[in-house]
Symmetry: C2
Subunit: 213 residues, 2 copies
Amino acid sequence: MVNKNAPKSVIRRLPVYLRILDNLIRNEVEVISSKDLSEEIGFTAEQIRKDLAFFGAFGTRGTGYNTSFLRDKIIEIIGLGEQTNIVVVGAGHLGIALIRYNVTKNPYVNVVAGFDVDPSVIGENILGVEVMNIARINEIVERYNVKVAVLAVPAEQAQAAVENILESGINVIFNFVPTKLYVKKGVYVHNADLSMELQSLIYYATAENIKDS
Amino acid sequence: MVNKNAPKSVIRRLPVYLRILDNLIRNEVEVISSKDLSEEIGFTAEQIRKDLAFFGAFGTRGTGYNTSFLRDKIIEIIGLGEQTNIVVVGAGHLGIALIRYNVTKNPYVNVVAGFDVDPSVIGENILGVEVMNIARINEIVERYNVKVAVLAVPAEQAQAAVENILESGINVIFNFVPTKLYVKKGVYVHNADLSMELQSLIYYATAENIKDS
């Protein structure tokens, strides 16, 4: 489902909506008022309405949202309907951790291969995912119709790895390298940020701020 | 700055505000209207006003927000005014990656030690951070007034590690282990979720959805 005008901030919130809807459906909530949905998700009802309006009108005035319908729509909007194949470029500590993490945690995404240039890790098998020579990336991307690369190489190798990734036809990069990447127009780079999550935790390090919720 | 009523969802957004304000200040924007701030941050003006209202009134009607004032307030609210000391429990691939990542990326947070039970990693030094025997956690937490533990051990060791962490006096855990942790009341556990970020990326894997913004 294409909407060229939806800002990144809206797209970033869609998985939050998806997770809450998944929870509601698990708890057999079929319909939810926009006020209750707002409380569950933690965004104002206006924010939710505005976000969803980029893609259509999904609520019914007076009754609210049908949870299954909205969940399916969001899956369709993001494009999670069928499992997406990704690769992880860089099989050092972080790359290996990301492969493991994804293999165990993510139902929508499938890691088909890891890549590296270091002969000592090439051939390793991480929970069923093989680490291959980066020279094989074109072949794998074509075979598995890979759309997204997770980048986890040392900073000094990042730009060379980006060239390999782009040449393979991938144009979405989830970048874990703390360095600026240079890419051609039409390529989408998202920089990972674990530190924002960590920062918000500091709030709770003041014992008085912990409440049960 | 204590507000027992601020929901988690609001606290989680504070670092987003902080990052945007840091950018605005870097670009010498001193005052910003609530409409322009809304566009920069990607939340509706109402959402921003409602979030900030948990902590006070920070805008001026007719002019908007003073960026430096608001940035300083948010730093104060989260408690980022002085560097927070944290420890990483588990020095496998993920733990080592998290130590490295934080050491290089996060100005507000300082990793004082890693901990493990495996003699083959105890004594390792990761960018200046020593991996110690978990038996030393009480001593280190007391010495550095540590408030937060990042948990990155294998799933089967998670609950034992949690006991060690809580006994040391830490009561905020950033959990990277895909398993449910049992903690006493008053302890705050935040489960890391890289997969939501990855999911939102899938949207851009449809080439038509990539726009320059």
